[in-house]
């Protein structure tokens, strides 16, 4: 255990220098067909040069159908003692139905990897379904307060995040993501610039039913953080992308549609606003007035996953790359076209996403994707 602790607190920042920039990838089958995690792993492997081994991860949707409506808490923990503390937080509001160590391959650099645990939980008061998002939020914040000793990777129904320090290929191998079938996947390879490369700082960042992977940096982090802190969000994970995940979570709880969430994160420039027609201008201006503090400034390309869909978005100046590819019921998104062609050589259409315009893809049979 002491060895594990040692690795845990180690910051790799500044010790490794490889010129690159993050890699993001996402895929969804619109018919709800579940695909093996190997595919997203292959997409990430082609973009190897974009990461530097300081963080990688995957989000998988539709992987736990046998657990019905249970909430799957994926946790990064220092040791069993910390697990005890986390469990005491969980049982305040949840009944633990099942728990286990997430199956991993502890070889090579991962001999000292943290303890990775998952709990399948049901709320103690299932009658208060409307309050569940608040419950997930407060529980996650309470656990993350213990960071870096403990942090939540994900806590949604029928989904899971698998992440850590390493290259995307290493993390895929470590978590055996080829053992899971999901109808939608996110992948990330990290090149940390301003924040340490540590297990909890790897992407995807997830809260409730949404998860996000991000390439870029958010210079508005401070502003966004102070806005979110008013609504019960605490930023404990020492990475800018955390603020993006919580902003999206918050905006969705405000019942904003995905197109409107995108307009808050990457609002049109004022000059563009002036050229818009009346009603549209009113709407966009109102969003800017109300949610201006959640505008994300700085370069970014993000892919957001939610139950039954994906959303991809570039910053409004398009300072990062993001390519989409479609073939039949499959939609692929990646930082580089090569990642799409690697897994779908006969892709019917490939296009680059314009600045600030969201691509929102929903499964045609949402019921097939959503927890029944």
């Amino acid at each position: 255990m002491s060895e594990r602790k040692e690795d845990y607190h180690q910051s790799y920042e500044g010790k490794i220098r490889i010129p690159s920039g993050c890699a993001v990838a996402g895929l969804i089958n619109k018919a709800g067909k579940r695909v093996n995690g190997r595919t997203i792993g292959e997409m990430m492997a082609v973009m190897h040069e974009r990461s530097n081994g300081l963080g990688a991860g995957y989000a998988a949707y539709g992987i736990y159908p046998e657990y019905g409506k249970a909430y799957a808490f994926h946790l990064i923990l220092t040791d069993d003692q910390t697990r005890g503390e986390v469990e005491r937080i969980l049982v305040r509001n949840f009944k633990i139905i099942e728990q286990q160590e997430i199956p991993v391959r502890r070889t090579g650099r991962y001999k000292k990897a943290p303890l990775l645990w998952r709990y399948f939980c049901e709320p103690l008061r299932p009658d208060r379904e409307s309050a569940i998002e608040d419950l997930l939020l407060t529980t996650t914040m309470r656990i993350n307060r213990m960071a870096p000793r403990a942090s939540v990777m994900s806590c949604g129904q029928n989904l899971g995040v698998f992440k850590g320090v390493g290259y995307p290929e290493e993390i895929a191998e470590f978590y055996r993501i080829d053992q899971y079938l999901g109808y939608s996947w996110l992948g990330h390879g990290r090149f940390p610039t301003n924040t340490p490369g540590w297990w909890g700082g790897a992407h995807p960042f997830s809260l409730g039913e949404t998860a996000v992977v991000h390439n870029g940096e958010l210079s508005s982090y401070g502003t966004n953080k102070s806005v979110l802190e008013n609504f019960g969000y605490e930023l404990s994970l020492r990475t800018d992308t955390e603020v993006m995940a919580y902003a999206i979570h918050y905006l969705r709880r405000q019942n904003l549609s995905w197109p409107l969430v995108a307009k808050v994160l990457a609002p049109p420039h004022w000059a563009e606003l002036e050229r818009m027609a009346g009603p549209e201008r009113e709407l966009v201006a109102a969003l800017r007035r109300i949610y201006g503090g959640l505008m994300m400034n700085g370069p970014f390309s993000i892919i957001v996953a939610f139950h039954g869909g994906l959303m991809a978005l570039n910053d409004r100046l398009k300072l990062r790359s993001l390519v989409a590819g479609a073939s039949g019921a499959d939609l692929y998104l990646a930082s580089e076209e090569a990642a799409i062609r690697q897994v779908c050589p006969r892709v019917e259409e490939v296009w680059s996403l314009p600045a600030g315009e969201a691509l929102i893809c929903r499964a045609e049979e949402e019921s097939a994707c959503h927890v029944a």
Binding site: V46, M47, E49, A271, E272, R275, L317, K318, S321, V323, E336, E337, A338, A339, R341, Q342, V350, S352, P354, A355
Partner: protein
């Protein structure tokens, strides 16, 4: 012609092999099964021809001075980054920052090009820099341009008739901070699409020998028929002066 099977080959090994074959005197190479390998042709000189099948990775032909690179497919970001000479001919589309800071040579893209294309472009007397895009380009085309020529044709894009409608062949912030060279875009362009400090005039290939010559070279390089454009209206953007921001911090005026 020598064939290199590049499927799954890491970029370092691939580029080492290309260098080795060119040094050994090969004049034509076919790189088959390319998918995302970076830096192909980067820093190379000479008169050889590289043909690429697949999607070429980032920084294709970066700092290249010589070679003709033909891509039967798309190219990712940064093709022709800081190139000094030679040709890059692309049958498909190109990503962001194509021709970034190029100072000589030619880039012909049959399809679309991404954001920030031709920014910081310069030109040398002995090898004028030219970038011709068959499709359309995104925002910031020719930003901080210091020399050379950019042409956008919009081969398959119908233009709007209304005077103030956006020209779909280029995005916003067109030619911001431009202080040298020329940009030709088919059709009229409303003032709000242009970055400022730029002179805008109308011309046609028939009346403008430079434009006509570049379109002809583009058509030859990609084996296309562009004769229908000879009488089409193009907007020609040139800088008003060579120091667009000279008075940016001067509030005395």
């Amino acid at each position: 012609m020598k064939v290199v099977e590049a499927k799954g080959l890491p970029y370092r090994e691939l580029n080492r092999e290309v260098r080795r074959l060119l040094t050994a005197g090969e004049e034509r190479l076919l790189l088959r099964g390319i998918n995302g390998q970076r830096y192909i042709g980067a820093g190379l000189t000479g008169a050889a021809r590289l043909e690429i099948e697949g999607t070429a990775g980032n920084n294709l032909g970066a700092m290249m001075d010589g070679l003709t690179v033909y891509v039967d497919g798309n190219v990712q970001d940064g093709a022709g980054n800081t190139m000094s000479g030679g040709e890059i001919i692309v049958r498909g589309s190109a990503g962001d920052i194509t021709g970034y800071a190029m100072r000589g040579g030619k880039i012909f893209i049959q399809g679309n090009a991404g954001w920030r294309v031709g920014i910081h472009m310069k030109s040398r007397e002995q090898s004028p820099a030219v970038l011709v895009i068959g499709g359309k380009a995104g925002d910031f085309l020719g930003e901080y341009m210091a020399g050379g020529t950019i042409v956008v044709l919009g081969l398959n894009t119908p233009l709007h008739q209304e005077r103030e409608a956006a020209n779909p062949l280029a995005g916003n912030y067109l030619a911001s901070g431009m202080h040298g060279g020329a940009i030709y875009i088919r059709g009229r362009i409303p003032a709000w699409q242009i970055g400022g400090q730029v002179r805008s005039a109308l011309t046609t290939p028939d009346k403008n020998a430079e434009l006509k010559a570049w379109i002809a070279q583009f058509a030859t390089g990609l084996n296309l028929d562009c004769s229908a454009f000879q009488r089409e209206t193009f907007t020609c953007l040139t800088p008003e002066g060579n120091r667009p921001y000279a008075r940016l911090y001067d509030h005395s005026a």
